[in-house]
């Protein structure tokens, strides 16, 4: 496991090479460095994993590379920490990351800024690996901000269009709200426990904190706020749909598979703190559930293929939060992994469709693509089946485990379960609405499918992984608290499987056979508009925050605080004008003032005045 440092360093090296060699490397060399660095990191992960499993007792491995900060008792180092949880994340980041880089090397081939793209992507992977391997919260925060920066850079990758720049700034500012809370949470944690070292926190938190007391609740709530911003959960979710302005591989890697799940990782990593704050944990479940339902109903009314997938990402991360909240810790990480695989598959397939249709993203302009794009058709079908959690796809295993755990929560369990199942039902409708609108019906427009070794193999590998990922056993279970034992009644499983199937049936009736059109709610355009606009969150934030802020800015355009220095300037300018009038070039005036002044001085000297 001594090779652990290699894993984040390889993509970082790739980034450095790509930045220093800007404009000097050929396209194929850029491809080799950009994809190769991540692929090598994946190989290094395999190597480390082999050592990890070979050890008789799977122990956590901690190594200090070099000290970083040493201030007044606070010792922070560049230290790496490997346990089952971070190893699971490593598999996801390097494995899915390699496939997405592979795909992106073809997807972005025509782009003028090929090298810049791969430099940012490699930096992102390095920062994300730093985030999951950090052995203290400060280093984790470094990776956390690093991925935020790369997200900003890649959303605004095509910066010539001001709308993309706006989307990038929005993502940056909204996540910054959560990050500020996260930073305050770190300060509080340090004040309470005197350390930011993760293994020490895990050990100290149950001893030092009283269950449900104020300090752990406040700290957990602040950490949760950071996680909400990064993972696009209510109420800091508004940036994710707009983040789809970035290139599609970016959406697949950052805004579906890895970065947006960092919030889930943060909560799972700090589970010892969250376990001491049951109220916050319950809030996590409620926020997750609210996000599932809100984004599900929004996705029903979207027309942009990538925005539908973005809302489905929010809703699936909602399931992960939901799972964390109900105590199904390892199921949440399990769902994180399966979701990373199948959502990357869905996004990359969507990318192929978009390329095939000459950058058309509106699903109303698509249709009948089943015969023209057979490989994307099958890949999308597999991805959709996972998203809807049809057995025996990977999504089925993870989502069923989450729903089963939620049933067993005392008192509110069945209600939470019902909400989760309703979410699954809505997921089925919007997923297959998308699927049927894109692949069935009348054919519209000409297609030109991107083929070749950069397009089909990653899709097929991911599709195969999506099917079988449910059978993997993640090493995260050894780190996280045990999930609720026992089984809910068998009818709950039947409902949880049957309701999504019913949802698919509805989608089939409405969008393929064109029956049951009243379900489209055409007479209530206002309601549909409201749902399409994401329940008016953007509007509300604009009214509540942006408009007053802009008003204040307009009032303060002349900078009220600057008034005092400006007043001093004004006074001295006035005095200057006054005195300069004395120097009028009139010799006789000078003599007269000289004489007058002499008289005054004489009078003063003689004490006459």
């Amino acid at each position: 496991m001594q090779q652990l440092w290699l894993i984040p360093c390889l993509p970082l090296l790739g980034f450095v090479l790509l930045v220093l060699g800007h404009g000097r490397l050929s396209r194929s060399l850029v491809r080799l460095v950009g994809v190769g660095s991540v692929a090598l990191a994946a190989l290094a992960t395999m190597w480390v994993a082999q050592d990890y499993y070979a050890a008789v007792t799977a122990q956590a491995y901690q190594v200090l590379l070099w000290p970083w900060l040493s201030v007044a008792g606070l010792e922070v180092g560049f230290g790496l920490y490997l346990d089952g949880l971070s190893l699971s994340m490593l598999f996801v980041i390097t494995g899915v990351g390699t496939l997405i880089h592979w795909y992106a090397s073809g997807y972005m081939w025509q782009d003028a800024d090929y090298q810049r793209f791969f430099a940012y992507m490699n930096l992102f992977v390095a920062a994300m690996l730093m985030l999951v391997l950090a052995d203290n919260l400060v280093l984790l925060f470094l990776g956390w901000e690093g991925v935020g920066l790369c997200s900003f850079l890649l959303i605004g990758f095509w910066y010539q269009d001001p709308a993309n720049g706006y989307a990038a700034r929005k993502a940056f500012v909204v996540t910054r709200v959560g990050d500020t809370a996260f930073a305050i949470g770190l300060f509080l944690l340090y004040r309470e426990l005197g350390t930011l070292d993760l293994p020490t926190i895990m050990r100290l938190a149950p001893e030092q904190f009283v269950m449900g007391a104020n300090q752990p609740t406040l700290i957990a709530a602040l950490l949760l706020a950071g996680a909400l911003g990064k993972s696009a959960q209510l109420p800091l979710h508004t940036w994710l749909p707009d983040a789809m302005a970035g290139p599609t591989p970016v959406s697949a890697l950052i805004h579906a598979a890895t970065m947006v799940t960092a919030g889930v990782y943060l909560i799972a990593r700090n589970h010892a703190v969250f376990l001491q704050a049951p109220d916050v944990l319950f809030a996590v479940a409620l926020i997750g559930l609210a996000t599932i339902l809100l984004s599900g109903f929004t996705a029903l009314n979207q027309t942009d293929i990538k925005r539908i997938l973005a809302y489905s990402t929010m809703s699936q991360i909602g399931y992960m939060f939901f799972a964390l909240g109900v105590g199904a810790w390892s199921e949440s990480i399990f769902h994180l992994m399966t979701h990373a695989v199948f959502k990357a598959l869905l996004f990359m397939t969507a990318g192929s469709i978009i390329l095939a249709l000459h950058h058309e993203q509106d699903i109303r302009a698509m249709g009948g693509l089943r015969r023209q794009l057979p490989v994307p058709f099958w890949c999308f079908l597999i991805g959709s089946a996972c998203l809807v959690a049809l057995p025996p796809s990977s999504g089925f295993f993870s989502k069923e485990a989450i729903l089963n755990a939620s049933w067993q929560l005392p008192v509110y369990g069945p209600w939470l379960w019902a909400g989760g199942v309703l979410g699954a039902f809505v997921t089925a409708i919007y997923t297959f609405r998308l699927f049927f609108m894109v692949f069935f019906g009348a054919q519209k427009g000409q297609t030109e499918e991107p083929k070749g070794w950069q397009f089909h193999p990653p899709l097929i590998i991911l599709a195969a992984l999506s099917l079988v990922a449910g059978w993997f056993v993640l090493p995260a279970g050894s780190v996280l608290p045990a999930s609720p034992a026992g089984h809910p009644p068998i009818w709950t499983v039947a409902v949880a499987v049957g309701l999504p199937l019913f949802g698919i049936g509805i989608a089939y009736q409405v969008y393929v056979r064109h029956q049951w059109q009243w379900l489209r709610l055409d007479p209530w355009q206002g309601l549909r508009q409201f749902l399409r606009a994401g329940w008016g969150f953007d509007w509300a934030y604009k009214q509540l925050l942006l408009t007053p802020f802009m008003g204040l800015a307009r009032v303060n355009r002349n900078d009220l605080i600057d008034g005092l220095p400006k007043f001093v300037v004004l006074i001295s300018r006035w005095l200057h004008g006054l005195f300069s009038r004395l120097q009028n070039g009139q010799l006789r005036f000078y003599i007269a003032t000289l004489a007058g002044a002499a008289i005054v001085v004489l009078a003063l000297a003689l004490k006459v005045l």
């Binding site: 120097q583 009028n584 070039g585 009139q586 010799l587 006789r588 007269a592 004489a595």
Partner: protein, 102 residues
């Protein structure tokens, strides 16, 4: 000289000095201004002489010699400047010399 006359001499010197000062202030012609300055200088010289005579001290006359020297130097420079002024402006009006105003 009796010390009782010093008051008269001082009043005369003061009057002369004020006359010269007023002349400097109200005259525009540089030549007349210089004459007025001479009057002021001599008023000061008269004050020195009177004071020296009143107290029987020789310094008063020495100071008067210094004042005469000063006046001669001032006239030498001043007349040169006046000559130059006349060549540039074709008159000797000091109010035309106002280029250095603020």
């Amino acid at each position: 000289m009796d010390s009782q006359y010093i008051d008269h001499a001082m009043i005369l010197a003061g009057l002369l000095f004020c006359l010269g000062l007023v002349g400097v202030m109200v005259r525009r012609n540089l030549l007349f201004m210089m004459i007025s300055i001479e009057v002021m200088l001599n008023a000061a010289g008269l004050a020195f002489i009177a004071a020296g005579s009143a107290w029987g001290q020789p310094e008063g006359q020495i100071m008067f010699l210094a004042v005469i020297t000063l006046g001669a130097a001032e006239v030498a420079v001043g007349l040169g400047l006046t000559l130059l002024l006349f060549r540039h402006h074709n008159n000797v009006n000091v109010d035309h010399l106002n280029l250095l105003r603020g």
